[in-house]
Amino acid sequence: MALFDFEEAERELLDSKRRVTRGDTVGTLMDHRWVGMGMLLFVIGALMRNTTLMAMTGFMLVVVLISWAWSRRALQSIVYRREFQHKRVFPGEKIDLQIIVENRKLLPLGWMRVEDEWPKLFGPEDEARLNESPAADLGFLSNTYTLRWYQRVRRHIPLVAHHRGIYQIGPAFALSGDPFNLFERGHDVGKLDHLIVYPEVKPLEELGLPYKDPLGDKLVRQQLFEDPNRIAGVREHQPEDDLRHVHWTATARTGELQTKVYEPTRSVNVVFCLNVSTFESHWHGFWPEMLEYLVSTTASLAYWGASQNYAVGVVANGTLVHADQPFRVLPSSDRNQLTRILETLAGVSYIVTTDFSTFMLDESPGLPWGATMVLITAFVDDALQGTILRLRESGRRVVLVALGKEVPPAIPGVLMHHLPIDSEPPSIDLEAEDNDDMTARDRFLRERARRESAR
């Protein structure tokens, strides 16, 4: 009817509030061939004056037409959204998920199935709720609905965070159609959500570290930097002074150039440097338990540092999920800093961008001078020892936290903690045959291990 109404047609054209479009026809039990056959038979019936044939084909065409029109409008004005009790949790925590579906139109919805892509590691408490998906770590949260006109359905599903990570929820695909299943239409609904599971944070005593000054007696011996927010006083301007520090009000009052004198910064900077490599040789692969231990230890130390009002930061030679660059959270005593660090650590993947010893040498110039560097690593090889010595020689204060089984060698002037992991590293079965379940990466690592073993 909008064809006759110019104003309405323009309004429809400009209406940007359409919730869900009609979607695409993804399946039909009576396609265009049936419609074509029906029309042809109707004409044949008319030519033969066979009213029964005409009535039969006419009946079929009317049913198909009504079903098609119904199916086209089935997914219109459907609202699908997820509401999480919390979007940031710690491992083992349970949260309540509400899935809300609304039918905001007069046409009832005979049926609708929504398949929501869901990570198994942050899945429903009842694991059977997730249907299988081609991806090993994903499942489909399937829900079937029937909705009356202008009706809302809320479903509560308890979720459990099993493992650290940043998880994407969605996309969701809705399948619906006419109530008689002649036509099916599908469309993506809802938006993507992200859930964060922080790494496990343990008390220092549980880790085996002393609660009082685990990083040494004096964190900072000398402050070379000034805090521009705290002015200690004014003095006469010297030629080597920066013009930006001129106190113009005092200059105007005295008639001579005056320079602001700042208080030295009082914050204690601690940077936690995380080595994501779990083995000395990359062809050994990846030790999941060790990575979790490394991340958990870093998070626990960061938590402790923040609770001591230190300016804490994190750098690592690993990448975040969906990224290919090493990350860096510079020290800050901002009250959101701990959240920032935990969120970052939640997303640490096992992918190593560069060797840790090289990474530390490259990274140290960018870190605040006077900051204590806490190196958290699974192993201490010769290269890393050399790097630590160079950092010490250049005036950096370094604390080493080694989490591997082997006791690290003593390095002069470096405070060291050895907190060996409980579990054993995964072994590579060099004699085993390759099978279809193995990924290309697994195959490569096994082949490399064979070669190294032969050498």
Partner: protein
């Protein structure tokens, strides 16, 4: 025989009784019966002379009996060979009964003719009588067996419908089949549509994840929707085919009579109960003498057709109801008590099921009342605007060529804007057509002239000026085609 061997298929989950599955089986069986009946009418002399609904009832009875027999045998877990023997014996009995009673042997061979009765037969076929009876009854029983041992899926349910349409087309070419087809069409579509709905519900419930209940209310709504579509479809089909009112009445009369009969059958115990209670109250209030003097009409009297004109089928149905209750009048009280108990039991069962299901589903349903009112208001307003727009458009351009030209230009502009919007250049609410033109030029950089032409034409139409010549109008259409092809080239 393969099917017979499959009488017990361990892959079919018969474990828990699900009324939806049983109802789906029944509905699919009813759908299939509707298209098998015209085949009987075409193939058998005795069947062609039967009343259409009697023939339909016969086929339905056989098919459902076969299906339930198989399911009963299977659920009993009888020895496999014994199951086959029982099934084959029952089928043989059905054939013998058909030959002996409904379709007795004729003293002449069966002659089949094709094409409708106003065209000369182009082919004849002569067969011994027993053969088609055997074949058709076996067909019915084979379908019953097939339905009983397969899990009802939406595809299978719709397969029955599609197969039925093909059979209807074939049977419609024979004069004997045409009479039955008309009667079978409404129930065929009704049962078919409802059957596919229920099959879908089963598939969704068993397809993993959290499903909705698909309970009796949903089924009732689906039945209503299927009934409405069937009614509308038959009405439109009848008009399109030019069926005479008598033929339509012949089809609809038994359906309404059956509905009325069913209603009366279900409600009559309640009527009797009300009658008894009213009599009791009156006798208690007015005393025995007064009660004797008051002559309340009985249910039988209430449903008397009286002087009102009734159709033959309806009258017959009412007489049957009257006869039934007159015969079993002594059971009125028992029936009434039974009906009340049944209603109470159903209510309690429904409430407990609903409570249980809501606990299981952990689901809350809310009505968006304010939105519903707004939606209705919006619908009403849009309808009013549409009528107003149509009246204005007709008033401005009349019914002639000008209206057609204005609509063509408006469509062209709307399509152009929709294509531009898809390319990332949507029209803002505040933009005039001239302001929007620059965005359109960016969306279709190789079709500047076409964009300008359509925009100009649209603005002119907006102010009541339509393309005067057919060439000018064709130029607008060509411009739109040019933009479409430009868009495709760009997309490619």
């Amino acid at each position: 025989m393969n099917l017979i061997l499959k009488l017990h298929d361990p892959s079919i989950p018969y474990g828990r009784f699900d009324w939806r599955r049983e109802a789906t089986h029944l509905l699919i069986a009813l759908t299939e019966s509707m298209w098998i009946a015209p085949v009987f009418a075409v193939a058998l002399d005795g069947a062609s002379t039967m009343a259409p609904y009697s023939l339909l009832a016969y086929v339905v009875g056989n098919l459902v009996l076969a299906m339930w027999l198989v399911r009963a045998l299977d659920s009993r877990g009888l020895w496999q060979n014994l199951r086959q023997i029982v099934f084959l014996a029952a089928m043989l009995l059905a054939v013998l009964l058909a030959v002996g009673t409904l379709f007795p042997p004729l003293d002449r061979p069966l002659v089949y003719q094709t094409i409708s009765d106003n065209i000369d037969p182009i082919q004849t076929l002569t067969l011994p009588h027993i053969l088609p009876v055997l074949m058709l009854v076996s067909l019915v029983w084979w379908r019953g067996l097939r339905l009983a041992i397969t899990t009802p899926t939406p595809f299978r349910a719709s397969f029955g419908m599609r197969l039925g349409i093909v059979f209807f087309v074939g049977a419609a070419l024979f004069p004997d089949g045409q009479r039955v087809i008309l009667s079978a069409l409404p129930p065929f579509f009704f049962f078919g549509l409802l059957g596919t709905s229920l099959a879908r519900a089963i598939a969704l419930r068993e397809g993993g994840g959290q499903s909705t209940l698909f309970g009796s209310r949903w089924t009732g709504f689906m039945a209503l929707a299927a009934g409405s579509i069937t009614f509308i479809g038959f009405g439109i089909a009848a008009v399109l085919a030019g069926l005479d009112p008598e033929a339509i009445t012949q089809v609809l009369q038994p359906i309404f009579a059956a509905l009325l009969l069913g209603f009366a059958f279900i409600m009559s115990p309640l009527f009797f109960l009300i009658e008894a209670v009213v009599k009791l109250i009156i006798s208690a209030l007015a005393g025995d003498m007064a009660a004797e003097q008051i002559d309340l009409p009985t249910f039988s009297e209430m449903i008397q057709p009286g002087d009102q004109p009734q159709t033959a089928g309806l009258e017959q149905a009412l007489r049957q109801v009257q006869h039934f209750f007159d015969q079993f009048g002594g059971l009125q009280f028992c029936l009434s008590v039974f009906a009340v108990l049944a209603v109470v039991a159903i209510i309690l069962l429904t409430l407990s099921r609903r409570q249980r299901s809501s606990q299981v589903l952990n689901e809350v349903r809310e009505d968006l009342d304010s939105d519903a009112l707004a939606g209705l208001r919006d619908l009403f307003k849009r309808g009013l605007d549409a009528v107003n727009g149509a009246v204005n458009a007709v008033g401005q351009f009349g019914f002639g060529r000008d209206l057609f030209a204005a609509l063509t230009v408006r469509r062209a502009y709307a399509q152009m804007a929709a294509m531009a919007s898809k390319r990332g250049f949507p029209r803002a609410v505040s933009e005039t057509p001239y302001e929007y033109r620059s965005a359109l030029h960016e969306a279709f950089p190789t079709a500047d002239d076409d964009v300008a032409l359509i925009t100009e034409a649209f603005v002119k139409v907006r102010y009541g000026e339509v393309p005067e010549t057919a060439e000018a109008l064709q130029a607008v259409v060509d411009a739109l085609n040019g933009i479409k092809s430009a868009g495709q080239v760009r997309g490619a």
